[in-house]
């Protein structure tokens, strides 16, 4: 009891009993607000990550489809060498491979989000007749998200 009494009588303790000032409270609110904003940005990032994952998942199906189409017509595999950018247009529809490439374009158009097709996005096939290899390369998210599918023809 003596100790309490002695402390209460000192001017230093009186000062510490004042609490926080309005300025201090406002500063703390601003700091907490900045924390909230960064956490809110995380939700935006999470939603965007899911959108990208969905896009990549669909690109898996489409890449398999492209590979399968080439295998189905492997004698003419070289005709399927193509590099689609975002401003792709339908083929002339004159040959089988053009019609198949139009299937692919139709799938890109219907399944992938065209609003997110950016300058560095490509969907390309690489055919190496000598080695008998086929590669499907997808670069989504302005080229940042890459997906490769490779196959060796017998």
């Amino acid at each position: 009891m003596m100790l309490v009494r002695r402390n209460l009588n000192t001017s230093k303790i009186k000062k510490s009993l004042k609490g926080i000032s309005l300025i201090e409270a406002l500063v703390s609110v601003v700091v907490v607000g900045i924390g909230f904003v960064s956490i809110l940005q995380m939700t935006v990032y999470a939603t965007r990550s899911v959108d990208i994952a969905i896009e990549k998942n669909k690109s898996n199906f489409i890449a398999e489809m492209m590979m399968e189409s080439i295998v189905a017509d492997k004698k003419n595999a070289q005709n399927y060498l193509v590099n689609f950018k975002c401003d792709y247009k339908l083929m002339s529809d004159g040959t089988v491979s053009d019609r198949i490439k139009n299937f692919w374009l139709s799938s890109f158009d219907r399944s992938l989000d065209q609003n997110r097709c950016l300058g560095n996005d490509i969907k390309e096939t690489k055919i190496n007749s000598t080695e008998g290899t086929i590669s499907i390369n997808f670069h989504l998210g302005d080229g940042a998200q890459k997906k490769y599918l490779g196959l060796q023809l017998k």
Binding site: M1, L8, I39, A46, N57, M65, S69, V96, F103
Partner: protein
Amino acid sequence: MVHKKNILVFNSSSKKLSGLTLVEVLIAVIVGSFMMAAIYYAYSVFSGSYLSIVEKVSVNKALRASMTDIIKDIRMAGYIDENTNILNKTNFEAIKFDNNMVGSGGSDQISVIFDRPVDVSSGAYISNRIQSRYFLSPMDGPPGTGFSLFNALTTCGDAACNNNLVVTPNRKISDFVENLQFRFYGEQGQNLTTFSSSQVKYVEISILIRSTNEIYPAAISKNFRIGEITIPKNDRYYRDSLTVTVFPRNIIK
């Protein structure tokens, strides 16, 4: 005694120990209200974001499951096993197609026939010929709730699967499927409207699935192209569609 002494000490101390003024209390209330509003806003954003992510993942999962099953069976269409229990092995339509089915929102249905090994405990290798049918059927609930994608497996009693030996209960693959369309293409990539399965070189599958709950704060207008049809939608549901073509490699040409 102790209390008394302490009270005396407080009373004799400076004015600042007297408590909060009305202005200070009001400012504290305003600052507190801002904090509560910020927390409520953050909660609603987190909650909306979480619901949106869950629904998107759920739709994509359903899309993937549906497409994987259909693709797998179409790739098998026409497969004839040497050890099949069907005496007349050949001469059957490996793909049967029904366009614009009544009671399924104008969706298509497809049946594929192929041989599938049976797991027998004796170790003998036997295959059954089966027919795998994919179709939409209305979901439980009030009209307009949506459709479910089902798979029906039938063990065939003959080569063309006109006589069925065993019909297994329908297996539900996914709910809230809004449309399912198939298109068929021949050797030259030409569109086939009427066909024999031996003419089919590519099968195009299109599925449209919507979320269980509304996730957007306002109605969103969007057109979905599924097969040959365009489906306009203007509501708060999330939708996803996938269109791919499959090469049914086991059909004997």
